[in-house]
């Protein structure tokens, strides 16, 4: 398992190979990857890139905790997350999530879960540049709902929002 926060871009091939190398030896027959990209527009029109702030220390542990939760909840043999921070241009890669499992359903579910929970619980904040002004992006109700779908199936989160 690997969880990384970095400014540099990442290589699809390298991350796939890293995840697959051990996974196939552990019987993985299915690898799912998710990549998030900077879109060049928002509801107000075109944007000129984004900027991501994070909480050094906590962000890394939150990503590691998320991988541990996903491993407990789903039948996966390995998983990894890489999240970029800092200034990112339109169309740049933002985040990569990979999951490996014996069977495809668990790999798909685990990757979906990791992304849904990441968007609700990992301390990273996004600004969008628009006409030389950078505006913080508001959290989406859709993202809350996506995470709640998983949480409602649990006994209850150990820690609540304010």
């Amino acid at each position: 398992m690997f969880a990384r926060v970095q400014n540099n871009d990442f290589s699809q091939q390298q991350l796939y190979d890293e995840l697959a190398a051990d996974s196939v030896l552990q019987g993985a027959g299915a690898i799912v990857t998710f990549t998030g990209l900077v879109r060049d527009f928002n509801a107000q029109g075109g944007i000129q890139g984004i900027e991501l702030e994070y909480y050094p220390g906590m962000t890394e542990s939150a990503l590691e905790a998320l991988l541990a939760q996903a491993s407990q909840r789903f039948d996966i043999v390995d998983a990894g997350i890489v999240h970029r921070v800092g200034k990112l241009a339109n169309h740049a890669q933002i985040v990569w999530v990979g999951t490996a499992s014996q069977h495809r359903e668990q790999a798909f579910l685990a990757a979906t879960y990791i992304m849904d929970m990441l968007k609700q619980s990992v301390p990273i904040w996004k600004k969008e540049w628009q006409d030389d002004v950078a505006c913080w992006v508001a959290a989406k109700a859709d993202d809350d709902k996506a995470a709640m779908r998983w949480l409602s199936a649990e006994k209850g989160p150990s820690c609540n929002k304010a």
Binding site: G36, S61, A62, K119, W125, C159, A162
Partner: protein, 81 residues
């Protein structure tokens, strides 16, 4: 003393990234938040509304008990991914 950190909009409104604060009475995250909000109009505005809280780098709620040397952070709902 406890270390207090702010991120994103909360940091910008607070006008500061980090500060040291005396341990409040009672020693909870909510009490610390109230103490900070009385300290300045900027902090009052920054800590209003839907603010998430972390205690020693784990998400927590306002009832969480804190101790000397702990780290508490306040920030808006996250928007990564």
């Amino acid at each position: 003393m406890v270390t207090v950190k702010f991120f994103a909009q909360v940091r910008e409104l607070a006008g500061v990234e980090s500060l040291q604060a005396p341990l409040p009475q009672p020693a909870t995250v909510d009490a610390l938040r109230n103490q900070l909000m009385q300290q300045s109009p900027a902090l009052n505005e920054a800590l209003q509304g839907n603010v998430l809280m972390a205690h020693n780098q784990s998400l927590c709620d306002g009832n969480t008990v804190i101790a000397e040397q702990d780290e508490v952070a306040f920030f808006p709902p996250v928007t990564g991914g």
